[in-house]
Amino acid sequence: MPKLLTGAEIVFKCLEDQKVEHIFGYPGGAVLPIYDELKNHPSIKHILVRHEQGAGHAAEGYARSSGKPGVVLVTSGPGATNVVTALTDAYMDSVPLVCISGQVPTHLIGTDAFQECDTTGITRPCTKHNWLVKDINDLSKVMHEAFKVATTGRPGPVLIDIPKDIQFAKTKYKKPNKEKKLNGKSHNKFSQDQIDELVKLLSQSKKPIIYSGGGVINSGPKASQALREFVDITGFPITSTLQGLGAYPGEDNQFLGMLGMHGSYEANNAMHDCDLLINIGARFDDRITGKIDEFSPNSKKVHIDIDPSSINKIIKVDLAIVGDVTSVINKINRTISKRKNGHTKSNKSNIAKWWEQIEKWREKDSLNFINSDESIKPQHAVQRLYELTKNKDTYVTTEVGQHQMWAAQHYKFNKPNRWMTSGGLGTMGYGLPAAVGVQIAHPEKLVIDIAGEASVLMTMQEMSTAVQYNLPIKIFILNNQYMGMVRQWQELLHEKNYSESYSEALPDFMKMAEAYGCKGIKADNPAGLDDKIQEMIEYDGPVIFDCHVDPNENCFPMIPSGKPHNQMILGPNDQEENKIKGKGKALV
C-alpha cells in the first residue's frame, strides 16, 4: 500500500516535483503545519520577508530575472490580503507566481473565524485562476495544475487556498500528469499563410517599425535571440515598451529607445509616421498609445501575441498572429531566409529614406537635460550609475515614478531578464523586495534598485530581509524629497498646486542604514558622485545610497494626456528655443 502523506507533506512533494528551490513567505496560524514540514525538505529554501507584499514582489523579481515561477507562502486573513497588491502587480505584468495561502479549517469557513477572509473571492480578479482545496484528494492535482496555469500561455499569478485541516489530513500523493492539457487550449494558433502575409508586408513597407514588449522577455532568452536576428535581417528600426527593455540591445544603432509617454522623440515619431507597425508581445497599453484616434494613423498594423484577448482590444490590427513569440519569430526568420534572394537587399534600400528621417529625429537628442556642477541631476546620476556598472552583468529593479522613467531612459539594457519594474499596476514599493528576489535567484550578480525616496519607504522593512540573508542589494535612492511624478503632473496640469506631494520629515537614510545593519552612503554633489557609486558597487553587502538630486527636475520628453505621439513636450533645451518662437505655451 502506498504511503499516506499529510497535506503539508504533499505541498512540499509537489514543490519538489516542480523543482522549486526558493519560497518567499511569512508564517501564521493557518499555515503552521506547512511551516512545520519545511525542516524535512532541505532542497527548498524559505526566505522570511517582513511583510507579505514583500514576499509577493520578491517572488516577482525572482521570476522575472530567472524565468522560473516565483512561489509565495502566506497565512490566512491579513497574510492573504497583504499579498493582493503583489498578485495584482504580477497579473498586470504577466509574471508567473504560485501563491499558497493558509485558510481556517473547512468547518469554520463562512463563520467569520479568527483570521478568516474570503481569499479566493478577494483574489479572483487578480489571478489567472485560484483554488480553494476542500478535499485532501484534490490537493496534489490542484498544486500541479496551478504551476501549469501560472507558467503556460501568457504567464500570471495563481493562488491555492489550503484550509488548516486539509494540511493535516492524509492521502496518497499523485505525480504531475504530463499529458494533461488545459481544456485543450493550445497557444500556437498561427498558420504559414499568416507568416507569408507578414513577410509580404515586410517587403512592401517603406516606413516600418518594430515595437516589442514584455512578451518577448516572457517567451524566454531564445525569443530575444530570434528578435535580434529578425531585426538584423530586415534592417528595420525597433522600439520597445518599458517591460520589453533588454530584449534588444539598448546600445544598438537600430534601437530607437523606449516609446510611449516618456519615450524618445524618434521612437514616438516613427510610431506615428510609419506605414508598417509590427507589435511583438506588447499590448497597446494606454501609456504607449497616447490618443487612440490618432495612434499611428497611416500604418498597417501587425500584432504577434500569445493572448488572443490582447488582439483588437485597444487598437484594431490588420494582421493578428496568435502564438508564442519564439515560435512565431523563428518561423518568420526561416521564411525570410528561404526567399533571401531579393528580399533582404531590396528592402533595406526601400527603407533608406526612412532611416534618414529617423536620424533627423534623433538629432533632437530628446533625452537631453541641462547638467549642473552644483546639484546632482537625477538623469546624470543614472547615467553615471550605468557607466560604472555596464561592464558587470547588472540586474536593475525600480520603484515607480520619475526615477523609474529616468532609469528606463538612461540605463541601457543589453540582455533580457535584467530589468524588473512595475509597469501595468505601477506599484510604488516594488523595487526593494524585487531586488531581494533577484539577488536570491542570482547570488553572485550585482543587483541595484533604482529608487525614489517616497516609493522605497513603502517597503523599506525588507532591508531586514536583505540583511538577514546577507543579500548585497544596492538601494540607489534618487532623493528629491517629492513624490516626483505627482509633483510633475501638478506643475504641468494643476497650476503648481503641490498638494501633499512634498515629503516632510523624511528619515535620515544614513541612520536608517545603520539601524538595519547595512551600509549607508550619501551623495549631494556631482563632484564626488563617481567615487561614491564605486564605493557602493565594491561594498560586499546591502547598501542604502542616499543620492540627493535636484528636486525640481522634470521627466522629459513627455506625451501630454490625450495627445498623439507626434505632439511631445521636449526637455528644457528645446523649451527655451520654443519660447523664443512664442510656441512654448501651446506645448504644455
Binding site: R124, P125, K134, K313, W489, S561
Partner: protein, 182 residues
C-alpha cells in the same frame, strides 16, 4: 481645446452597441458563476439577463446564457476574455436578430381577481403558450414563454387585470435545425 487635467486620455468616439447572447459551457464547480459574472462587472460589461444550470451531470458541465449589450469590439473582448477562464470549455455568441437561433424566457404571473379577469388574462397570453399552474376561486398562476420584450408588454397589460406578482427567468437559447453551437 480645453486642457485635459487627467493622466489618462479622454474617451474617443464610440460605435453603436448591439444586443448579443452568449452561451458558455463551464465546469460545474464552486465559484465558476462568480468568475463569469465577476469578469463582466470587473471589466464594465453589461448583463441584461442570466440563466444557468447543469446540462450534463456526467461530464459535470453547466451551460450559462448571458444577454449583454456592447459594440462589436467589446463583444469580441467578452468572448476572448471568457475563453481565457480556466473552467470555461466553449463560448458561443450571436446577435439577438440572428434568425438561426431561438431564444426564450419564461415568466410566471400571479393574477388575483374574479374569474372573468383571469379569463381575460389567459386570453391576452394566448400567443405565448399559457399554462395554468395553480388555480383557486380568486387567483391563478399563469406560465408563459416568450421573448423579453413580449413579456415586458404582457407585464404591463396584465396589471389592470389583477396581476400582483411577476417572476421571470433569463433567456435560454438553442440553434435551429440540426446544427449546434460550435
Amino acid at each position: 481645446m480645453a486642457k485635459s487635467k487627467s493622466a489618462y486620455s479622454v474617451p474617443t468616439k464610440k460605435q453603436k452597441p448591439d444586443t448579443y447572447i452568449f452561451v458558455v459551457w463551464v465546469d460545474n464547480e464552486a465559484g465558476v458563476l462568480a468568475r463569469v459574472v465577476g469578469l463582466f462587472s470587473g471589466r464594465g460589461y453589461n448583463i441584461e439577463s442570466l440563466a444557468v444550470a447543469e446540462v450534463d451531470a456526467v461530464k459535470n458541465i453547466s451551460r450559462i446564457t448571458i444577454v449583454t449589450t456592447g459594440t462589436p469590439q467589446v463583444i469580441d473582448q467578452i468572448r476572448l476574455q471568457l475563453t481565457k477562464l480556466v473552467p470555461v470549455h466553449k463560448v458561443a455568441e450571436f446577435k439577438r436578430e440572428d434568425k438561426d437561433v431561438i431564444f426564450k424566457e419564461m415568466a410566471l404571473f400571479k393574477v388575483v381577481g374574479k374569474r372573468n379577469k383571469i379569463e381575460k388574462c389567459l386570453n391576452a397570453c394566448k400567443k405565448f403558450n399559457p399554462v395554468i399552474l395553480d388555480e383557486t376561486k380568486s387567483s391563478a398562476v399563469i406560465q408563459i414563454t416568450a421573448l423579453r420584450r413580449e413579456i415586458d408588454v404582457m407585464n404591463k397589460k396584465l396589471k389592470p387585470l389583477g396581476l400582483i406578482s411577476t417572476s421571470r427567468t433569463g433567456a435560454v437559447a438553442m440553434t435551429r435545425g440540426a446544427k449546434i453551437f460550435n
